[in-house]
């Protein structure tokens, strides 16, 4: 199942950085209106990409460490992690094809 739900400061390393599959992390907050637009799009991408991609949400209010470590200063920010490193970042609410354009080149197959 591509959508792995939430990730937090504690399990970020094991869930995201040590994952064999690329992970798209959706940095969001309850008070962020555009985030609520983007999250369903990210879920749709998860369904379409199947086994080649995992997606997870990280609430920035609850998880300041990951937020600060990756220099997230605007939300929504979608960061694609592959092999423990950031390989792509999409900032701001964007339509599905714009997100896929930046994400897809990094996925297998």
């Amino acid at each position: 199942m591509a959508n792995i739900g939430s990730v937090n400061d504690t399990d970020f390393r094991s869930t995201v950085l040590e994952s064999d599959t690329p992970v798209l992390v959706d940095f969001w907050a309850e008070w962020c209106v555009p985030c609520h637009m983007v999250s369903p799009v990210v879920e749709e991408i998860a369904r379409e990409m199947g086994e080649t991609l995992k997606v997870a949400k990280l609430n920035i209010d609850d998880n300041p460490d990951a937020t600060r470590t990756y220099g997230v200063m605007s939300i929504p920010s979608l960061i694609l992690f592959k092999g423990g490193k950031e390989v792509a970042r999409v900032v701001g609410a964007k339509p599905k094809d714009a997100i896929l354009r930046d994400v897809q080149p990094h996925l297998a197959g």
């Binding site: 209106v33 605007s74 599905k96």
Partner: protein, 310 residues
């Protein structure tokens, strides 16, 4: 299967929802395609004090929620989809959101406007890493930091004032020697002890590798440059109308949809425009709402005429 409609409204700000409300009450069963920036620019603001009918003000998102509910109550169908293509070459017009397709007898364009960017070095690279165009969205990340706001209109005053809730200092950089903002907004900003202004100055570059570290400024009167240390740069230099969808199909002027005032007729019969997508002068929520109403009435009368001549 392609669905046929009488009225489709593209956009969901005050213009779109008011058009939908009036079209719904005229029994035209309008379809509203909300778009990615659903709710329009009022979703990016907090207190709206100048929309008439709210003596104590109302939060932007709340006002939009009310408008949406009101149009739904009378029969508007509202979809959270983003229009990717239109075909205005003949009626019924084609409208696509990805693979979904509709045909419509009339189209109301109320796609609004989005924040303008300066197009200077460092801006694109550092977007989301200290460069932003939305204070309410990103101000949160700059607690006790220093910020720069670029602009001289109401948006700049509002953004700067809002950011003082978080920032230790906000410097407004403006290319002229006076603000074009409304006097009450200017007074409020200048009275704020956390706000400073640098006049006659433009931002030439945004500095920093992984995050904003400063800006390179130029005083255009003295033709002198200097650098200012800062943690974030917020653009508030105006908006650009969202008309990329219609290029080559509608008459545009400087990107705005041209309408035959006082009507909302565009260059294509059966297509109407309302709100910031067409308004170069006023660009207020209430004028957008007023124009949305006009567009719905124009569409209704157009459909009646079509019915009588066929």
């Amino acid at each position: 299967m392609t669905e046929m409609r009488s009225v489709i409204v593209i956009g969901s700000g005050p213009a779109g929802f008011t058009a939908a409300l009036y079209a719904a009450r005229a029994n035209l069963a309008p379809l509203v395609l909300k778009g990615l920036e659903a709710g329009g620019q009022l979703m990016l603001t907090t207190d709206v004090e100048n929309y008439p009918g709210f003596a104590d003000g109302i939060l932007g998102p709340e006002l939009m929620e009310q408008m949406e509910k009101q149009s739904e109550r009378f029969g508007a169908q509202i979809l959270p989809v983003h229009v990717t293509r239109v075909d205005l070459s003949s009626r019924p017009f084609g409208v696509w959101a990805g693979d979904q397709e509709w045909r419509t007898e009339t189209l109301i364009i109320s796609t609004g406007a989005s924040a303008k960017w300066l197009g200077i070095p460092g801006e694109e690279k550092l977007r989301g890493r200290g460069v932003s165009a939305c204070a309410t969205c990103d101000g949160f990340f700059f607690r006790d930091r220093e910020l720069v706001v670029v602009g001289g209109g109401d948006t700049a005053m509002e953004e700067a004032t809002f950011l003082t809730k978080f920032a230790s200092k906000v410097t407004i950089v403006h290319r002229r020697d006076e603000f074009r903002a409304s006097p009450i907004m200017v007074d409020r900003a200048l009275a704020n002890p956390k706000i400073e202004v640098i006049w006659d100055t433009v931002v030439e570059e945004i500095l920093g590798d992984d995050a904003v570290t400063g800006v390179r400024l130029r005083n255009i009167k003295a033709d002198e440059g200097h650098e200012l240390r800062t943690d974030g740069v917020f653009m508030a230099i105006g908006h650009t109308p969202n008309t990329a969808l219609f290029e080559g199909q509608l008459q545009l002027q400087d990107g705005y949809a041209v309408v035959q005032e006082p009507r909302t007729f565009t260059s294509v019969e059966g297509v109407f425009a309302a709100g910031d997508v067409t308004d170069t002068i006023y660009r207020q929520a209430v004028t957008a709402a007023g124009q949305g109403c006009k567009a719905a009435i124009d569409a209704e009368r157009f459909l009646e005429q079509q019915a009588h001549t066929s």
